[in-house]
């Protein structure tokens, strides 16, 4: 009897273990996802270094070296069917913000065909003439549970996947 109980106990344990490898979890997503993912070098700006006019000339930086190079922050805007879906300032990465810009955004979108516009531009700066990069505009089909990936390439090219 004790042996039978033992075997039965072991059987239940093993059955539980087998069952635990088959626990279904999660739901089939009813939405689609617009994924924006890229990394780009961004634009540099030169910020003049204020120099003490009282310093003797030999102690001042020559005018062609009297600046610091900074990476510019960018603005990311996404419109879906003309309505804003995301507006975000993207700072260059790194503690000193001197690394390339990285973007990774996942936006839930209702399935169907949508007009998508994406702008990724340097933040306007006073006195700096902008070299406007083209944004992305297009009609895209979003299937439930599918991901539409949009990638920005250097020089303003956009790539879509799938």
């Amino acid at each position: 009897m004790a042996r039978l109980r033992l075997l039965f106990g072991l059987f239940i344990l093993l059955l539980g273990l087998g069952w635990s490898a088959r626990i279904p979890w999660g739901e089939s997503p009813a939405h689609a996802t617009l994924r924006l993912s890229w990394r780009c070098n961004g634009q540099e700006i030169k910020v003049p270094i204020a120099q003490d006019p009282n310093l003797p000339a030999h102690m001042r930086l020559p005018p062609d070296q009297a600046y610091q190079v900074r990476m510019r922050s960018y603005l990311l805007r996404v419109l879906l069917d003309g309505r804003p879906l995301l507006e975000k300032r993207i700072e260059p990465a790194g503690v000193r913000h001197d690394r390339p810009l990285s973007v990774l955004e996942e936006l839930a979108v209702a399935p169907g065909r949508h007009r998508v516009e994406v702008e990724f531009r340097p933040e306007p700066l006073e006195g700096v003439k902008e070299n406007l990069l083209p944004g992305y505009q297009g009609q895209l089909d979003f299937g439930a549970g599918r991901v539409q990936l949009i990638t920005f390439q250097e020089e303003g090219h956009w790539q879509l996947k799938p």
Binding site: R5, G18, R22, W25, L104
Partner: protein
Amino acid sequence: MIPRKPKLSRLLGSWLAPWERLVSWFFGPDYNPTYQSGVLAVYLLALVVASGLPLLFFYKVGAPYESVQWVQGQWALGWLRGLHRYASDAAVVAVFFHALRMLQGGRTSGPRRRAWLSGLALLGLMIFIGVLGLVMVWDEQGEKLAVQGIQFLAGLPFFSEPPGRIFADNQALGESFFFMLIFLHVALPLVLVFLFLAHTSRTARARYWPERHLVRAYGWGLAGLALCLPVPLAAPADLLRLPGRVYLDPWYGFWLPAAEKLGTGGTLLALGLLLLGLGSLPWWWAVDGPGRAQASVVDESSCTGCTQCVQDCPYDAIEMVKRTHLLDGRHSPLVALVNSDLCVSCGLCAASCAPMGVGPPQRTGRDQLRAAEQFASTRDWREGDVVLLACRWGSGEHPGWSAIPGIHCYPTGCCGSIHTSVLELFLRKGAAGVFVLTCPERDCSQREGPKWLRLRVYEDREAELQARVDRRRVRLFACPGVEVERARRELLAFRQELLKDPAGQSLPEGELRCRSSEVQDGQT
């Protein structure tokens, strides 16, 4: 003066009692897997390694899913994969019960702190290695775990760009990612080994292997399970598709639903709080009551240098050193010395010392004799009366013991800390028998109590029960703390036996043990 289990352990024990009873009913004390959960975890991890090594040769970092799919298609390899996975799952279950057992036994504080903290590290690392293994398959489950898991890294301040970008696109994920996975999956178990050595570094004669029937039963059981219920393989991961319903391994992926509910920040916060609670546990889940965990001390004038306490201490807390006092030539050149940093105050040494020269304060053999004598003198002994010595760490505190006619309940510390002279003393003072209720040998909170007591009573281990004591009047009964009813039946049956056969009740006159500390003739 006997330290008690932490209050929280007693509370936990009462909550878990119905479950314990159920497990005990199925498996009995000898094969109860929760009693051997630590060593079962070792065995299961060994099975994991043995079944994982051959699979390693068939894993392709360039085509992870396809290679696993191929393995699944070959029945022998598919079976190995099943065994690998089920053994890993079972190992986490075993570790969970092992930790629970330690909590329930109050084995968390003092010198056991190291085992507790390294245990936590072992568990964390084990889960991490397991998750890596599930991600390596690169099916939808692996994808979910990877995509969610990497969010935790994003929450850490070391990354200058979102680490989740590697999962933005199928093409972005190269062979190097899977190479890193397999490298860590194989290399980290070595760290596990070192952690395990630290984990058991304070236990003398640590057991590393379960009892052989358990080895066979679980080995064959898991092998059969892998054969009958092959582990499922979900659809391949596709980063441009959102994973739907998947089979989630609850033992390694338990955090996934929480992470989806609480978000990354919430989960990290919950994890931090959990770690803080468990990491600080040895400081707040500690032995309480009077005489709490005081280290043993040696009475150098009694010590004969026999080394028995060194051999019996389950925590290697005693060593023999050269005597610096009592150098009169009449005492042994070596004397025992307790390292109070290692002593958990289990009291086992008190019972191992024939001359009663060592033990925690007020719990040495002499103290025990004194207390037992006092107890015996207040009793009204009748024919067939039995003294029940019950460990307060096991079922000794059960209220049911006090109201049984003819039974004198005498709560003690761990049964292995009861000096055999105490058993003899009760028999001399009028008890017809002594019934020692011990915990099952594999479930002693002090590790080796029931074993040492059995050997001292029946196998002449040093500090043995004297030959003059009729063993029919002594009964050791190993019983899980929750099976009080069974112990009660056994106790009453023992009393009936004594009532039926009262012969041999008187003990020949003789000194109760308490040998002289002075060197005997021929002893160096």
